[in-house]
Point group: C2
Chain length 174, copies 2
DNA sequence: ATCCTTGGCTACCGTCGGGTAACCAACAAA
DNA sequence: TTTGTTGGTTACCCGACGGTAGCCAAGGAT
């Protein structure tokens, strides 16, 4: 039986779907071209919609950005991003975009900083406190190594091989 | 005595000065606001000039960008960028801008990749081959740790302290 | 069957930014 | 002094982008 609430729910679902579609498109295009490099119209078209849909679901570009940042920082990139490098390329690009944005916009900065902190905490719980180094410090170093190697490797996979990546992670994970 | 060549030289010098002034302004503004965030007019005005001066000295925005990249990759940031953190903020921001640009523009990508490689080589010469790890690999790891820690520390200096930075560099430099 | 809400579309505006062309002043060459 | 060149300014064009307003159709409510 189909009730009125049922309809209302389907309605909300459809709206959520368009929101998701827009966020997906923004995530992909902004990763590919940079935040200022993809316009709202580009994003809407990529989602099979028009710019109006964006303004119907978000108050503006920065709102869309913050919503994406919100969703992005909930979902977890697994540790060791460089493991499958082709797959990691776009997420890392977007992460760097967000880092830059956060460095310049204070209100977004704390959110990214918090995400990093949460990631470190999660990671630290996997490390037993050993060798005199606190586990949270070790987590910070692991993230740093992972990130620093990924940046070099994505830019120049020939000269920064998978073996170097493995050696780095081994060193920091003892 | 003032010869004709003397004049010609002063002329060339003045031109070189305006070029430098434009490059300086671009370096600062692009670091502060991002490459797409500062227009040619902004840059020219910051240098006390007008947009026309840019087009008199460079063929366009990307040419100015490449010239700056060229100059930037000649000058050397010392290793351990995070040592004096306030001083490092802008250079690191610009470096990340360049990294992103290089990841998306193939023709610029190899230049940045080469710069990284040269940095690694220079660094590697300071490392004796020891403990079974090749010195060039150690250089890669040192850069990765330095960079990864700097990114985290610039974003959140409270939670990523100088001690952690020191510990990371110690670990990788043995 | 009728009304009204909602979600998305279309057309439009103002601004901004890269790029161009005409112009002009300083200055070197004669 | 006159002439030509060079370095920079001014005014303008055009496309793109963020944002707004009015419209319209789908589809729930009554």
């Amino acid at each position: 039986m189909i009730t009125e609430e049922h309809h209302a729910i389907r309605r909300r679902e459809r709206r959520a779907q368009t929101r998701t579609a827009l966020l997906d498109a923004a995530e992909r295009l902004w990763a590919e071209r940079g935040i200022r490099g993809a316009s709202l119209e580009d994003i809407a078209n990529a989602a099979g919609l028009t710019k109006g849909a964006v303004y119907s679901n978000f108050t503006g570009k920065t709102d869309l950005l913050l919503a994406l940042l919100e969703r992005y920082t909930r979902a977890d990139l697994g540790l060791e991003m460089c493991a499958r490098e082709d797959e990691a390329r776009l997420p890392v690009l977007l992460l760097v975009e967000f880092w830059l944005y956060g460095m310049r916009d204070y209100s977004a900065g704390w959110r990214i900083a918090d995400w990093y902190a949460a990631r470190r905490d999660t990671l630290a719980q996997g490390f037993p406190e050993e060798n005199g180094m606190p586990s949270d410090q070790r987590a910070t170093l692991a993230m740093a190594m992972d990130f620093g190697l990924t940046l070099q490797r994505l830019l120049d996979p020939d000269r920064v091989g998978a073996d170097t990546y493995a050696a780095g992670m081994r060193l920091v994970l003892e």
